[in-house]
């Protein structure tokens, strides 16, 4: 069953305006938070077990507590640079409930004693940008932002910043570089952003969904949040589902929800004439699961990790039997080749090599040992770079090859596609 905590009022008309939002209990969390001690808010979030919804799944409360205990200015950045292929939940949340995110941000900023925060929004998201910008103006007018918020003595300013459309800027240090006006490429760690981030000051970067969840947690308490999900994966998660299913879209369900039920109930099952073949559970950089594995899995961090993949950003990509895996991998490799920032050598050169290999396999211009080369190149790209983009490119390759090797070998041996459907890789040939 869908369990709408965050998306509860999304169908109400006008929920994206301040009036609509306040009508359904908006900004109560902020009022509550401003009366609490900042440390207590951090403890509350820690107790809720909320984990970062951007992809890594790191405990949010824990992240906040890494801030050094000093008087330096701090920054809170909302990562709305949603670029992971297959993920579109943040756009949906910003378009329909911008105030929920803004409220979460003000509460979080109060908790970490930050006076300035930014929403870094993806350049392509023009409509959400306009909506968020308008919502911020409304919040300023209503006194939720600016000097002395609601008479509490807490000052906070919030700005929205449009990116230029680079996938890599979704990585937090690259986001900081971009926001600083530099080329959007990741920085070396250490120092970590919590110690030296934006403008070399302590900085916290959180995902849109995470900040929206903070609002809910402050409204309803950590204990209420923990009722959903499992011990380690608490609460609900918003998924963006795509593929040849009857009802693609954004859904919020409890963590640890069985995927089989999710596919059949929420997604309305496969479209007629298509058979479920494989699942990418959390956006394109997560290793693929076969239908068999996927149907036994539950959607939570631990179960996915035990299957060798990740829940990631919740971009559920459902692959059917008419899809050619070689073609799909080639498309993914084209994406990562295009998006590599070019800073670290293994990623800069490796992503290009992977794309060239998958493309020549697709066109039937390869020898069988190219499959082994593909695997070797991918494995040697893993864990060798500043950020995780080279892993993100390599993980799908390794999992595609280990689970669907026959399709690759068929392409090479027979010089045509095994599934015969819409194989672009071969069509180029």
């Amino acid at each position: 069953m869908e369990n709408r905590l965050l998306l509860k009022h999304y169908n109400e008309p006008g929920y994206h305006t301040l009036d609509g939002y306040v009508k359904f209990g908006g900004y109560t969390a902020l009022k509550k938070a401003l009366k609490m001690k900042p440390e207590d808010i951090i403890t509350e979030v820690k107790n809720s077990g909320l984990r970062g919804r951007g992809g890594a799944g790191f405990s949010t409360g824990m992240k906040w507590s890494f801030l050094p205990n000093n008087n330096e200015p701090r920054y809170l950045l909302c990562n709305a640079d949603e670029g992971e292929p297959g993920t579109f939940k943040d756009r949906y949340m910003m378009e329909l409930a911008p105030h929920q995110v803004i409220e979460g941000m003000i509460c979080s900023a109060f908790a970490i004693k930050s006076k300035k925060s930014y929403i870094y929004i993806r350049g392509e998201y023009y409509k959400p940008y306009k909506i968020v910008e308008k919502a911020i103006q409304e919040a300023y007018k209503a006194g939720f932002l600016g000097k002395n918020i609601l008479g509490s003595g807490f000052d906070h300013d919030l700005d929205v910043y449009r990116g230029a459309g680079a996938y890599i800027v979704g990585e937090e240090t690259a986001l900081i570089s971009s926001l600083e006006g530099k080329k959007g490429q990741p920085k070396l760690k250490p120092p970590f952003p919590a110690v030296q981030g934006y403008l070399r000051k302590p900085t916290i970067v959180n995902n849109v969904e995470t900040l929206a969840a903070v609002t809910w947690i402050l409204n309803n308490g950590a204990a209420a949040y923990r009722k959903f999900g499992t011990e380690k994966s608490t609460g609900t998660k918003v998924y963006s589902v795509s593929g040849n299913i009857n009802k693609p879209g954004v859904y919020e369900v409890d963590l640890a929800y069985p995927f089989k039920d999710f596919l059949e109930n929420e997604c309305g099952g496969m479209k007629e004439g298509f058979k479920f073949k494989a699942l990418i559970p959390g956006g394109s950089s997560c290793p693929v699961l076969t239908a068999e594995e996927a149907l036994k899995s539950t959607l939570d961090y631990e179960n996915m990790a035990s299957l060798g993949t990740m829940l990631g950003s919740g971009g559920v990509i459902i692959i059917d039997d008419k899809q050619c895996m070689v073609d799909l991998l080639n498309v993914l490799m084209h994406f990562y080749h295009h998006e590599s920032c070019g800073q670290c050598t293994p990623c800069r050169e490796g992503t290009g090599w992977l794309e060239k290999l998958t493309s020549s396999i697709g066109k039937g211009k390869s020898q069988l040992d190219d499959v082994a080369t593909l695997d070797k190149v991918a494995r040697h790209m893993m864990g060798t770079t500043i950020c995780a983009l080279s892993d993100a490119a390599a993980l799908p390759v390794v999992s595609f090859l280990s689970k669907f090797k026959d399709e690759f070998e068929y392409h090479i041996r027979e010089k045509r596609c095994k599934v015969k459907g819409n194989c672009h890789a071969q069509a180029h040939h």
């Binding site: 680079a166 080329k183 070396l188 250490p190 080749h337 295009h338 998006e339 590599s340 920032c341 070019g342 800073q343 670290c344 050598t345 293994p346 800069r348 050169e349 490796g350 992503t351 290009g352 090599w353 060239k356 290999l357 020549s360 190219d370 080369t373 070797k376 040697h380 864990g383 060798t384 770079t385 500043i386």
Partner: protein, 498 residues
């Protein structure tokens, strides 16, 4: 002071030191391209992977600070495999230009391939093509295909020269090093980018295609281009000197030197040198007589000096010195003048007075002499105080019989040379000691070929008072003399008068 173990060897270094530096103190080589001691850490080449115990992933040695009890392995199979692959990623799109690449022979890609690679390449796809032989400025040529994007040069222009001409544009394997629009790489430190380039992407226009590096021999000396006294390595072979590169000395020049200093070798090569004695023969109407053996010339000079001393007393012989010789040479010459010639007329010839004290903030100084401090110290030691102004006052007309001039080695640093030569000629018969030839010297009585700074040894004292030695690295004009040899010869032919 954390203690750690690298490849089984214990070492204790200051907290905050990176693993790669700690390994350096133990002389354990760690492969690297982007890391350079004089620049910030980029961590981009991923070559310096090391295994640190209790760490699941390999770490880069350049950005990992040492910690107490750390156990580092730099040479096990896991590390070797990682380095081999990092190298392979560097090489897959690198062109096979080695035959025409100037860096071949001192290229880090070649070196590490021999140490860590030696595989047969698996890359059978088309390579990425980029621009070749692009001129970046007056002195530097870029080959974008050869560039491994280590960003050393970019960091140099940002952090050291602070001129910000270079940047890496575009993303992924389309990344290209280039200059910003309308900002060519023309700063006075641009050739340092060529030195720090670990591959053949940046090459020097001056050195380009002149020699293969394996035909060159190196020796260490000092730059004599200005009073900073940068430590340099000179590359030469039987055909002459081909390039000058900086050598690390944290007290003097750090890792760098200026482009101006790299041209100092030019006036030492044969074609610019005074390679024989030239005498003005008044009996044949002042025509130049060339090729008299140096020893004979010195003897004649000695005889005429001693004759003058006997005849004319104190006022008859003057000495004018430039600050381009070594301390030892000044001592020998002053010794001769104080004790044998017994003339108090010793004058210091200061050049380019207007910008003499200028400084560009990094290394280059307006004082274009390597030994100004050494000269003034030695003059004080011998009690000589004369300056050029004093000389000019004295030298109205033929006030001296002879004027011995220890002239400049690098004439380009003496912009008003011609004007001063006139004054010298007016003052008396000039005995000109210099390593360089010049048509304008034709009125001089004697021209004696001197050694350039590459051919003699001695001490230069830089502007800070740091004493540094130059070495006799090569012989270019075999008949040329140092001032010591000149003084000794004159002393002996003057009959050792005391």
């Amino acid at each position: 002071m954390p203690k750690l173990t690298i490849d089984g060897k214990p070492v204790e270094v200051a907290a905050g030191t990176s693993v790669i530096k700690a390994a350096q103190t133990l002389n354990i080589p760690i492969a690297h391209y982007c890391w350079h001691e004089g620049l910030s850490v980029a961590g981009a080449c991923r070559m310096c992977m090391v295994e640190i115990e209790k760490n699941p992933k390999l770490q880069i040695a350049c950005n990992t600070p040492v910690a107490e009890g750390m156990v580092v392995h730099t040479n096990n199979d896991k590390v070797k495999d990682a380095v081999k692959w990092a190298l392979d990623f560097h090489l897959i799109n690198h062109p096979l230009d080695c035959p025409i690449c100037d860096q071949a022979g001192e290229c880090k890609l070649q070196d590490y391939y021999m140490n860590y690679g030696l595989y047969s390449p698996e890359m059978n796809q088309r390579k990425v093509k980029k621009s070749k032989a692009m001129s970046l400025g007056d002195r530097v040529v870029l080959d974008q295909e050869r560039c491994i994007l280590c960003s050393r040069c970019v960091r140099f222009t940002t952090e050291v020269s602070k001129t910000h001409e270079l940047g890496i544009f575009n993303r992924g394997d389309r990344c290209e090093l280039s200059t910003f629009e309308g900002r060519p790489l023309n700063n006075n430190y641009s050739l340092n980018t060529v030195d720090i380039c670990p591959v053949g992407a940046l090459t020097s226009k001056d050195f380009r295609f002149k020699q293969r590096v394996w035909f060159l021999k190196d020796f260490e000396t000092l730059c004599n281009g200005c009073s900073t006294g940068c430590n340099v390595t000179v590359s030469y072979n039987q055909n002459g000197v081909f390039r000058v590169r900086p050598r690390v000395n944290q007290e003097v020049n750090g890792f760098w030197m200026c482009d101006e200093g790299r041209d100092i070798y030019k006036h030492t090569n044969k074609e610019f040198r005074l390679d024989q004695v030239i005498e003005r023969n008044d009996q044949v109407g002042g025509a130049a007589v060339k090729g008299k053996p140096v020893a004979l010339a010195i003897q004649e000079i000695g005889k005429s000096l001693s004759a003058t001393v006997k005849k004319g007393g104190l006022e008859s012989i003057a000495l004018v010195v430039t600050a381009q010789y070594t301390v030892e040479e000044y001592e020998a010459l002053f010794e001769l003048f104080k004790n044998t010639v017994k003339s108090p007329h010793v004058y210091y010839w200061k050049n380019n007075e207007e910008d003499f004290d200028s400084f560009d903030g990094l290394l280059n100084r307006g004082d274009k002499n390597p030994n100004t401090k050494g000269l003034s110290d030695t003059m004080t030691k011998f009690g000589f105080k004369g300056t050029w102004e004093d000389f000019e006052k004295q030298a109205t007309s033929k006030s001296f019989q002879y004027v011995v001039v220890a002239g400049p080695e690098d004439q380009s640093a003496y912009p008003d040379l011609e004007k001063k030569l006139e004054i010298l000629n007016k003052a008396g018969e000039v005995i000109w000691l210099s390593s360089c030839k010049n048509e304008k010297f034709k009125n001089f009585k004697w021209q004696i070929p001197m050694k350039s700074f590459l051919e003699k040894e001695g001490t230069f004292v830089n502007f800070k008072g740091i004493k540094q030695n130059i070495k006799a690295g090569m012989s270019i004009i075999p008949t040329s003399l140092s001032l010591q040899e000149f003084s000794k010869g004159v002393f002996e032919s003057m009959g050792g008068m005391a």
